[in-house]
Each structure stands twice: as C-alpha cells, then as structure tokens.
Amino acid sequence: MSKQKLVIIGNGMVGHRFIEDFVEKADLDKFEITAFCEEPRVAYDRVHLSSYFSHHTADELSLVKEGFYEKHNINVLIGERALTINRQEKVIHSQTGRAVYYDKLVMATGSYPWVPDIKGNESKDCFVYRTIEDLNAIEATARRSKNGVVVGGGLLGLEAAGALKALGVETHVIEFAPVLMAEQLDQQGGQMLRRKIESIGVNVHTGKNTKEIIVGGEKSRNTMKFADGSELEVDFIVFSTGIRPQDKLAKQCGLATARRGGISINNQCETSDPDIYAIGECASWNEKFFGLVAPGYNMAKVAVDNILGRDNEFSGADMSAKLKLLGVDVGSIGDANGRTPDCKSYVYLDENSSVYKRIIVSQDGKRLLGAVLVGDTESYSDLLQYTLNDIELPKHPDSLILPAHAGAKTGGLGVDALPETAQVCSCFDVKKSDIADAVAAGHTTIGAVKMETGAGTGCGGCVPLITQVLNAELAKQGVEVKNHLCEHFEYSRQELFHLIRIEGIKTFKELLEKYGKGYGCEVCKPTVGSILASCWSDYILSSDNNGLQDTNDIFLGNMQKDGTYSVIPRMAGGEVTPKGLAAVAKVAEQYELYTKITGAQRIGLFGAHKSDLPDIWSQLIEAGFETGQAYAKALRMVKTCVGSTWCRFGVQDSVGLGVELENRYKGLRTPHKMKFGVSGCTRECAEAQGKDVGIIATDSGWNLYVCGNGGMKPQHAELLASDLDKQTLVKYLDRFMMFYVRTADKLTRTSVWLQNLSGGIDYLKEVIVDNKLGINEQLEKEMAQSIADYQCEWTATLSDQEQLQRFAHFINSDQQDDNVVFTPEREQKRPAFIEEKAPTYNISLEEV
C-alpha cells in the first residue's frame, strides 16, 4: 500500500506542535510527511521572542529537538514558501518550482503583523515585531539610535517596549485607545499599568492617532505627526498594531475565508475542502480567530485526531492571560470590561503599592464572569478556575481579592473544589481527571505525572496546581504524602541527616544497609554524599565516597556541555593580586582556556580537558590559589563592594568582612549552593539582599539579611537582625548555616527553605536569636568542627597518586577525547557546534 501524503504548510509553533502530536499518535510507516517552513529556521518559541535580546541564540528559542525531523523521516523544506495550491490536482508549488503532492493538507500559516496605513510607514526606520529577523534589524537600528517608539499599547506592544527599554534607548509607547491593553484591561487597570510603566521610565501616550511619519527632525531621524496636531521626534518606530490571519494561499486556491480574515474551519478544523485543515492563527472558527498559542495547540490536536479518524472537536478557547510586562504583573480573565448585562463588580485599589484588582460577578453574585489584576496576580489561578469550571463563588466574593490583612480567606481554592473536568494545564489541555487517572495508574511523583500526561511541560505555570492535585489524589488513595528521598530511602533528607549524625554513620553502604534498600540511585547517592561531607568533613573523593559524587564534584570541576571542565580558583571577596592574575593568565594561555569573569566576582577558565586538570591545579596551587568549590553544593563566594577602605561612602570594611566569611564557610557542603553578599553601606552595591546571606553595613554595625535569591526565582532577603557587632554576626551566621544544613530538603535553596518553614522569618529569628530550640550551642560546635576540618580538595587530590589516574580520559590510553573540538570566537575559543565537527555518526538529513 502506498503511503498517505501529509503536507503541512507553516512551521511555526502550531505547525510544529501538530507534527509532534502526529508523530506521537500515528503509525508513521503509513505516512509520508512534508512541511514547508518559510523562515530560515525551523519552529521557535515566539512567545518568548524578547528573550532573544538577552541570549542571542536562535537555538535557545528553538522548539525542535535536535534530530527530531530526521529521526521521524519528516521532510522539512526550510526557507521554502508555498506559492500556490492546486486543489484539483492536489499539488502545492513552491517558490523554488518544486511540486509537492498531498492527500491531506494542513495549513498553519499563522498571521502577519498588521500595520496601519500611515504615510511614511515604509521608511527603513520602521519595523514590526514577529520574527528573529525583525529582532536582529531592530537591535542593529537601536544601536545607532537615542530613542524609539512602539505604536500599539497592547500586549505585544508592551512586550516590544520592554525590549526597547532593555536595548537602552529612550522608549515611547503610542496607543490609539485611551487606555493601554484595552483588549484585556478595564480603564482603571489600564491606568494603573500606565503609572507603573511610566515609573520605570517608559513614556506612554494614549489617545494618539498617528497621521504621518516624515524623515528628519531637530534631534532625531524622524518626526511623527498626530491627528491632534502634536508631534514626536523619534529615531525609529516599531509597529505592534495587531495581527491578521495569513490567509493569502487559502484565497488563492478558493477556500472559504471569514469576513474578518482567516480560513474558515468547522469544529473538526476542516476547511471548506475536506482534505484541507487549518489550525492556529490563520484559522477562523465561528468568525473568530485566536492570537494566542494555547488555542492553536488545541486545534493542532483536533486536526491530528480527525486525520487519524478519531473523534475530537475544537470548542473555542479561553482568552484569559497572565503575564509580566515591563516587570508589572498583569492578569485578565473573561469579561474583564464588565460588558455582561447586569453584572456587578468588586474593586480593590491600593495606590500605595500600585495594586489594582477587580472581579466581575453575575447578577446573583454566584458566578465569576471576569477579572482584572494589575500589580498582584497571585489570585489568578484560583479566579481562573472559578470561571473555567463555573464554580459557585463564596458568600463574599470580595474576599478573593482582598489582601490577607484585610480579611481575605487564607489559602487558595482547594483542589477538591475543582470538578473532574477542570483544565489544569492549558498548554497541553490536561484535565484534573487526566492527572487523577495517571496517579491511579501508579504515576505518583510530579516527574512521572508530567511525563505521563504532558501537563506542566509547556509554560510550567501550572506545576504548583498539578502538585496539589497529585497530593490530593494520593491522600484519597490513602497514600501518605511523602517527602521520601527516593525509592531507596523512605526518609527525608532531614531525617537521614539526623540518622547519620546521631548514629555516626560514615559510609553510604552502611546507611543503605541500615535504613535503605536496593542499590541506590542518582538522587540518593549525591544527597547522602553531601550529608556525609557536611557531617564529617571527609575527603569527598575517598574510595568510599567517590561513587556518590554528582557530575561536578567527582572531578572537582564543573562539567561543560562538551564534557570539558571549568577551573575556578577561589578569590575570596573578589580580591586578587596582580601576581595571582599573572599566574591565572599563564595557565590559561598554556592550556588555551577560554577566560571570563564569572557572575561571582572571580575568574573562570573553561574548556579544560579532564586529563589536564591536575596540572592546571598544581600550577594554581603553587601560585597560592586554592579550589573555589565552584563545582560544589557549598558556599560559592561572598560578593563584596569595595567598602570603607576605599569608597567615599562606605561606612564599614565590607571586603574585609567578606573575605573573612568566605574563608570561614568555604568548603562546607550545604543542601544547595549558597551565595553571600556584603555591602559597605546602604547603597548596597554588592546586591546582598538577593543572596542567601546578605550583610549590609550600618553606622553602628551590620544588618543581617537571610534567604534571598537571584537566579531563577528572585526573592528579596529578609532581615534577621540589625546593627550587630561582628562577633554576634558570626555567631548568628554559624547557627543559621548549620540549621539550614540540618533541616533543608535536598536541593532546596534557602529562599524556598524559608518559605516552607512554618512560622517563616519570625520562627527563624526565635531559633537563631532567642535559642528557642535550645540547639544553638550544638550548632556552633558543629560549625567549629567543620571549619577546623577544612581542606582544599584539589591539594588533597594532587597528593594522592591513585586519584590522579582517574583524570586520564582513557584508562588504557594517553589519548585525549577527539570529540572535544573548539572553534575560535572573539579571540578566544568555544566548543564547536555539532555541524562544525567532523561527522562521527550517520544521519540522513535529506530524504525526498
């Protein structure tokens, strides 16, 4: 039997999702699949497009796993545009003259940015904001500009404005409507958003109708003229005035299109030709088209099912949205403008903290119809569940948006209140019942549930909710919700810590025999390795501990993507002597290591072969350096500002304290990595309040902040005690560090640990300052022991001949790994991309 020919036009987010879903569900032997991709690269994440400005690699945004299309034998025609469809002959012709025949055709042509018909909009200083190419052009122009303007104050426009701001140009937003985000926000919400955006330095102009753009101006390259007679001089202009469905091809081949644009589809996503489907932004369902990705994903699923002869219907989409624009949290649900007849509203406005919340409820006060949230979106998921699942509101609906101090009910909407059909994950359309089924089928960890249902693997915003459903389902099954380390230990990290400490257990084997079962795994081994190191300060590479160490610890360096390592010597407090620098430079030059200042105020050398590590380190140690433990779950470094020693404003010696603290706690294994900061005055140049421990000088001593975090989930540190003298500060720190080491779960940063500590910062104060648990003496003793036992792991390793043998790449040859290849870049080197290396494997890239 000949294969069925399936062709997809468009390789955007939805087009790619269609292929992924199809690959998963279909017997691929029966299909020959071809996809047209007009852009020069395969599908990428347009939702997070702006992040391109910060990392600049299209790879980061790519949605296609490497080798995915090749593996499934899908022929992707990159950079090739479908020009015509001949529905009688069932053939597509592309701009290269290629003819591709189809049995079933899926159109996922997306949308195009609509630019209003303004005189002068064809200038080379005018842009749209949709593709990576657009972003490259905008960035290049921004570099030679002082100011830029975004026309359009909607969701995407503000996103673009954020990007312009980040590019460092004076940023303006022009909106035709009287408020920003008129689609999603009511007037008051729009005003609040405007105030917040203006406060960070973006100039907002609403109610402005752009008439003309003329080249030239007194200060800038162009002048915009508005209908009210006013003018604005700008260097460049980005249009973000809405999108229109890309339905040109559909019109060319005579498919039915909707009045307001878009290829008309029915509930099965079929167009007027039963062999052609349309999905995503190019499709119009009931005269509506959807400019969000979630409905597009849904249509992709429906189309796959119908092509495979399964029942599935598209039934519209919820257009609610929660996002962060220019740093402002914004949420919009359902009828945000209160247009439903006879609806009623509750409003909460706090101009002091710039928070605005409004909920719109039905006339009888029982149903939530819509909501607007600006400045605080914490209640978004709960509110959304009320509308999506038509849950009856509490007696006083305003309690849903009041802050806790004003009498809001504590705790969110319990998951038990959600009906079985409640959609938990909107990216992959996973319902509460799907998760319950997965749990019932034995998938009892969050990882397993994600893998089984796909929930939480898109934007990830629903993971807390999935966890709640999972725990509730487990509880229903009578399974106690456990924080067991893994299948080999039915204990939490904290419990194991106590067992090890109290019983004096010194090896993993001993612990496993007494309290565990089986062989152990990649979760329990490094955790126990870390506890043993915290408790006994043993050499982590001893023959007993060697097999427990995680990727970075085992060769005392951070493994990079190509299997080479980084070398980071300690530069306590960020101090380094010229002589030390010269030693670092010498070794970097000798081994051709890529060199950069890391985010931790020290120098990192990258691209070292494992086999070269001992030589590199012996030279560094010779020059007076020691390991920086950059590879360990341990104190990484203490960031300091220059302090009173040099700075005109400093009030205390922040560098001196930083160096002392870094040397005091270096090497101590902690549940996760730790970072400290010490600032010499209230200007806080060391950004100490974003660190696990932050110390800020005052006129009379030091303020101690704890449990802050930068990184993935920034968290402001909380004040533990103020105006401390150094001795008391160090005492509190000893206690704090040991208490964290004792009680935190595996891989828990201090910020999360504090969040889960019942009683929070007040409880922590009682323990550390008031000795509520009566353990402080013990904590200080344990810390003193750990400090006394410190050793530089690299010095220890170098003195052990047996250890050194482990660093050779091959156990039976002196050769190095020939797959490690570098490419020059900016006068240094970087790992070569796979396509830059000589081929070491066979894949067929082109099979037509």
Binding site: G518, C521, E522, L548, T551, I554, G563, R806
Partner: protein, 108 residues
C-alpha cells in the same frame, strides 16, 4: 574477527564508578557497580549532548535494573542493553563485558 579485548585491571576501577576505555577506536564506558566482579560496558557518548561523558555518570538502580545517569542532563541508560529510560526511541550501543583473571575484558 571480534574477540574479547583486555582493557584494564579490575582494581583500577573504583567500586560504584565507571571508566572510559579505548577499544578498537571506540570509546567504551565500563562500569563496576560494586566491589564484586561484575562489570558492564556501553558506548561512552551521550546521544542527547553528543559528548563522550557517560563513563562519568552515577550508577543507579531503577525498576530493579542498573543504569547510568548521564552527567550532563541525567537521562538514564541501561547498563545491560543501552536503552534510555526517559525516551524509548533513544539508545546507546551496549557491549559484552567480563572479568577474567583480574582483568576487565570487553567484546565489541
């Protein structure tokens, strides 16, 4: 043509760790899960990252079988057949391995 090839002494591999051996031009990851005379061999290349790193992973037990967790992104590969726990469509080559007279031998 193919035969058992000696790669190193067993005592050169710490229990619960792996090493990489060059066998007939191939990079082979050899694992010794415990202090006993049991060894396993699979290809050293992590197929996701295309880097020769699997010998440096942690040996772990799941579903009552032994695996190695890639040191890069922790995908797990079966020590007996090279299959991947995370993605059934991915695998690495697995080879026969044994201990003979205190030496580790691999059969490609």
């Amino acid at each position: 043509m193919s035969s058992w090839i000696k790669v190193c002494e067993l005592k050169n591999i710490y229990p619960a760790t792996g090493v990489c051996a060059l066998v007939d031009g191939k990079q082979v990851a050899v694992f010794r899960p415990s202090d006993e005379e049991q060894v396993y061999a699979i290809n050293n290349m992590d197929p996701f990252a295309r880097a020769n790193v699997l010998s440096r992973g942690l040996i772990c037990q799941h579903q009552e079988q032994l695996w190695v967790a890639s040191p890069l992104k922790k995908q797990r590969f079966n020590l007996l057949d090279g299959s991947c726990l995370e993605n059934s469509e991915v695998s690495v080559e697995a080879y026969k391995a044994r201990v003979s007279d205190g030496f580790v031998e691999v059969h490609l």
